[in-house]
């Protein structure tokens, strides 16, 4: 099999699919040329991510990466969520094929862009966002 059981589980039974109406933050990364677009929505109360949903156009690993990311950050503080890296996503999925690692990068980036969106709207600063420019996110494979 191409993917681990955890990837297949998150792909076949994705957690937290959908949109959050009036989300506090939203991040979209990827592009249609490469065949992946990932959008993550977050709700925030007292700097804690109370809800997180996603919508993804992409392959099995893109969907699984989105799904597990929403699970990993729900209930976390923003500072904790900003510590999440694509390596954590890969590890939690039990590994991804090397050609699919970019899917985990997209998940990390989409989350960061969503938090950046929240921070900007609310004039907040977070250590984990220092130097982060949502326009500089590398969307290529």
């Amino acid at each position: 099999m191409l993917y681990t059981d955890i990837v297949m589980d998150h792909f076949a039974n994705p957690r937290n699919v959908g949109e959050i109406k009036d989300a506090d933050g939203m991040g979209e990364v990827g592009n249609i040329q490469c065949g992946d677009i990932m959008r993550i929505y977050i709700s925030i109360e007292n700097d804690i991510i109370t809800d997180c949903k996603f919508k993804t156009f992409g392959c099995g690993s893109a969907i699984a990466s989105s799904s597990i990311t929403t699970e990993l950050v729900k209930g976390k503080t923003i500072d904790e969520a900003l510590e999440l890296t694509n390596k954590d996503v890969v590890q939690q999925l039990g590994g991804l094929p090397s050609v699919k690692i970019h899917c985990s990068v997209l998940a990390e980036d989409a989350l960061k862009v969503a938090i950046y969106d929240y921070a900007k709207k609310n004039n907040k600063t977070y250590k984990g966002l220092e130097g982060f420019d949502p326009n500089q996110v590398n969307h290529e494979h």
């Binding site: 993917y3 297949m8 792909f11 076949a12 065949g35 993804t56 156009f57 992409g58 099995g60 969907i63």
Partner: protein, 386 residues
């Protein structure tokens, strides 16, 4: 779970009769066809009989059939051999943008060696323009190579007309007929084809064996150097069991051709119609007419092909896609891009290829599951607004 195989253009199962024909040649009649003793002579006889059967599928003479390891070798051999033999006459080759990689990458190799290649565009259904072909021919054009049937979208090119144009201009014509053999009547005596590639494993024969038809009078040079096999053109001890299997597959294909075409066409049209009628925003890739009898290719908007394949596999349906993700590359299939599909729709392509063991019930099962799976993926897609 019942597994349903809808990927016959990728490969086919070996038919029981084919396997049974092969078995004695592994253990009992295992001789080397080059040997003088009886073991060798029996092998030589069966080699001759097999060559006749393969020739018969395309109405060739047996001495025009050269066994190879498959379609890729036949394509490589045809192009590189014709290029080298004729390099003093000219260095220009014409092919199309939707050829198999065995052709495209052989052309790239030849370009590095100083040959010039014109890659003809195709229209939205995958057909080359005969006018474009005529206009592309130059004084130094030595070879035209156009595939008979496209492996992804099923387009059947007008090989007869292409052959006439090639002949009028005194240019050698090769066609990759890997998807065509056994799926359409091929008569090389009625076509102005000089070289033609076929493969065994696409027609219910074993893998690792194929043939190159070389019309009498067409000069080729050896692809493999070594012994005197294949009239000193393709050295190496003949793979007799595989050749016997290939020949049996050709024989069955020839006998059943009409039934095969009519059965597959009905299932193909049924699948196309049912999916088109029950799913929105779906495009049928490839032509309505002049289409491979078993080829179905859809593009579903808003979703990605690999995800679709995985969900189909989870319910036992084996298919393929031209999505970049399935190929492990950046770009979607060159064929889908050449027929003018945008990235957003090319990524959502699905190829289902029907074969001799496909049943009507499989079609209904696929339609039912496709409706559900496409909706599930669309509900997840940020591009889709319900």
């Amino acid at each position: 779970m019942k597994r349903r195989y809808l990927d016959y253009s990728a490969t086919t199962p070996v038919k029981k009769e084919v396997l049974e024909a092969m078995i004695p040649y592994f253990t009992e009649t295992f001789g080397n066809a080059s040997s003088i003793h009886t073991f060798g002579q029996i092998a030589k006889e069966v080699l001759t009989e097999s060559r006749k059967k393969v020739a018969n599928l395309i109405n060739a003479n047996e001495n025009e059939i050269f066994f190879t390891s498959g379609g890729t070798e036949s394509d490589n051999w045809a192009l590189k051999s014709i290029a080298k033999v004729n390099k003093n006459k000219g260095k220009h080759i014409i092919t199309s943008k939707i050829e198999h990689h065995a052709i495209l990458h052989s052309c790239e190799t030849l370009e590095k060696e100083g040959f010039e290649v014109t890659y003809l565009d195709v229209d939205e259904y995958g057909f080359i323009s005969l006018e474009d072909l005529k206009n592309a021919i130059r004084k130094d054009t030595i070879l035209i190579s156009i595939m008979y049937i496209n492996n992804e979208i099923g387009t059947i090119q007008n090989i007869k007309e292409i052959g006439i144009i090639a002949k009028e201009n005194n240019v050698i014509f090769h066609t990759d007929a890997v998807q065509a053999a056994g799926n359409i009547e091929i008569d090389v005596k009625k076509l102005n084809v000089d070289l033609l590639s076929i493969s065994s494993h696409k027609i219910y024969g074993p893998k690792g064996i194929g043939a190159l038809f070389v019309k009498r009078g067409t000069r080729i040079i050896p692809f493999m150097d070594g012994g005197a096999q294949e009239k000193k053109k393709r050295a190496g001890t003949e793979n007799i069991p595989a050749i016997v299997g290939f020949a049996k597959a050709c024989e069955i294909a020839k006998e059943n051709l009409d039934d095969h075409i009519s059965k597959l066409s009905v299932l193909r049209d049924d699948l196309i119609e049912k999916v088109s009628n029950s799913i929105d925003d779906v495009k049928v890739n490839g032509p309505r007419d002049n289409r491979h009898p078993g080829n179905v290719n859809f593009a579903f908007k808003y979703i990605e092909g690999e995800a679709l394949l995985l969900m189909l596999d989870a319910v036992g349906v084996a298919a393929s896609s031209g999505s970049a993700c399935t190929a492990g590359s950046l770009e979607p299939s060159h064929v889908l891009m050449s027929i003018g599909l945008g990235h957003e729709i090319a990524h959502g392509s699905l190829r289902l290829t029907i074969g001799d063991f496909t049943e009507e019930e499989d079609i209904d099962f696929i339609v039912e599951n496709l409706i559900r799976i496409v909706q599930t993926l669309r509900d997840m897609s940020p591009l889709y607004e319900a």
